[in-house]
Symmetry: C2
Subunit: 292 residues, 2 copies
């Protein structure tokens, strides 16, 4: 970018998301420095993959950064915000990739009142984890939620440049209130995860050696269940009320389905299929997903 103000990007947590962001910046032509904050083993892998230039300790990375990208688990992001707040240069933009936003926005308001923090959440991922699974195309065609504390934050030049980079890496920025974001992702992300995990866990107890009698649909429905709990403890803890409410709504619909199956209320079940099918089709039209 000509006249770029971002000379150094500091990525905290160089895993799937942090590593993919680095690779995507490089592919999009970013010519500045990318430093990483991660374990020595991860830093070595990330350098070998061409994702980052070097590893640095947390405060040193912060002090040199024009753009700080926190791509750690939510609990670690909350700690990092406190740890680096005084080291981040005043002109820098701090953003993150946490899956819930209210707790992180509150932490930033408490610790970074004099700096500029804009919450972020790239709606991308896959089952595989770690920088070795990172790819420059991970964000292409995917929504990237942004939750500024004030709408005008996005008009600041450093934010506009960040938005330009998001567009160059193929992401689709979507500006949302943090509370609204958390309500929505409880429905579109956290509930689907728990629904998949619950299904797979239940089947593991009901089926013994007969798992082979299944069609491709069961593989779709249990793909999310492969996820490990590591990152989910923080997500659920930081979005408990919304997740509980989403589970309640889902259980209520399943209870109605159960009643309608038992009573052969086919017109009700048919309506449910029609609503579900319409939603599933709209979702695919709306996702703007480019062919990978």
């Amino acid at each position: 970018m000509t006249g770029s103000n971002v000379q150094t990007v500091a990525i905290y947590g160089v895993g799937l998301i942090g590593g993919s962001f680095a690779l995507a910046l490089r592919e999009a032509g970013y010519a500045g420095r990318i430093v990483g904050v991660s374990s020595p083993a991860t830093i070595a892998r990330a350098i070998a993959l061409g994702a980052i230039d070097e590893g640095l300790p947390p405060t040193e990375a912060a002090s040199r950064a024009d753009l700080v990208f926190l791509a750690q688990p939510i609990g670690v992001i909350l700690e990092t915000i406190g740890a680096i707040a005084r080291s981040v240069p005043r002109h820098a933009l701090v953003t993150d990739a946490g899956s819930t936003k209210s707790a992180i926005m509150a932490a930033a308001a408490g610790h970074m009142a004099s700096g500029l923090f804009v919450g972020g959440h790239p709606m991308a991922g896959k089952e595989a984890r770690g920088v070795q699974a990172a790819s420059a195309g991970l964000f292409r065609g995917r929504a990237w939620a942004l939750t500024p504390a004030r709408a005008e934050d996005l008009q600041q030049p450093r934010c506009r440049e960040f938005l330009q980079w998001l567009e160059r890496i193929g992401a689709v920025p979507l500006v949302l209130d943090a509370a609204e974001h958390d309500r929505i992702v409880a429905l579109t992300s956290h509930l689907p995860q728990l629904a998949s995990t619950a299904l797979a866990a239940m089947l593991s107890q009901r089926l013994s050696g007969t798992g082979a009698v299944h069609g491709p649909g069961l593989e779709d429905m249990t793909r999310l269940a492969i996820s490990s709990f590591d990152i989910w403890a923080d997500i659920l803890a930081s979005n408990r009320d919304n997740v509980a409410s989403a589970l309640e709504a889902y259980i209520a619909v399943l209870e109605a389905v159960h009643k309608n199956v038992v009573t052969s209320a086919n017109s009700d079940i048919c309506q449910l299929f029609e609503r579900g099918s319409a939603f599933a089709r709209t979702l695919r039209d709306a996702s703007n997903r480019q062919p990978a």
Copy 2:
């Protein structure tokens, strides 16, 4: 096949499954005649695609067949069994592709006591329907459940030849009792369908224009929801008790998840994730799926 006793295959319902079976037989080297029983429009398309040689009325097709393959919706299969029972030659094998087996096995026992009927259920499919979506590779690496009334039925030469064709088209035959089949598919197929439909239908009412804020996981979890209700009325009606029981078990696990989220019982949720993840991985190892 050298010395094949199957000179003519009659396929009832030349849609995705019936059409794919015809194409798969051709690709595997079947050189006999394939006749179809379907609507005139479907017959014309199936002939144009090279799936079948000609269309015939139901009883005429039955009277000429050495192998009868019923690939219609369950309710139509039940009617067809009664309608063709007297026309099927005594030496022929009748089989089907219905998603539930107990009702179909009972109908066959009632109408075809003097013939040979072996229930079947290819565990393959996709959202797209109709013969235009048919493909020779649809069954490759997928389980094909077989529910003979008596285990010794499978030793008859016409059954052994049918099994050879199943193996040639890449399917993985799995012999099961009809009641056990229906209990299992309630868990591995019917419940996942209802879980996906219920999720999509619930989200359609909770999200308005915000469906774009989602990751790839929601697309997995709503893929089955694209299915139309057409074939599901018969499936649910013919497997009501098993489906109700599967829904009850799923709701019970979701209720436990809800309680554990609300009380932050992380070790319980962590165990659920571990069980779910282990099942999801085993499923993929066990599915014997070849790269498509």
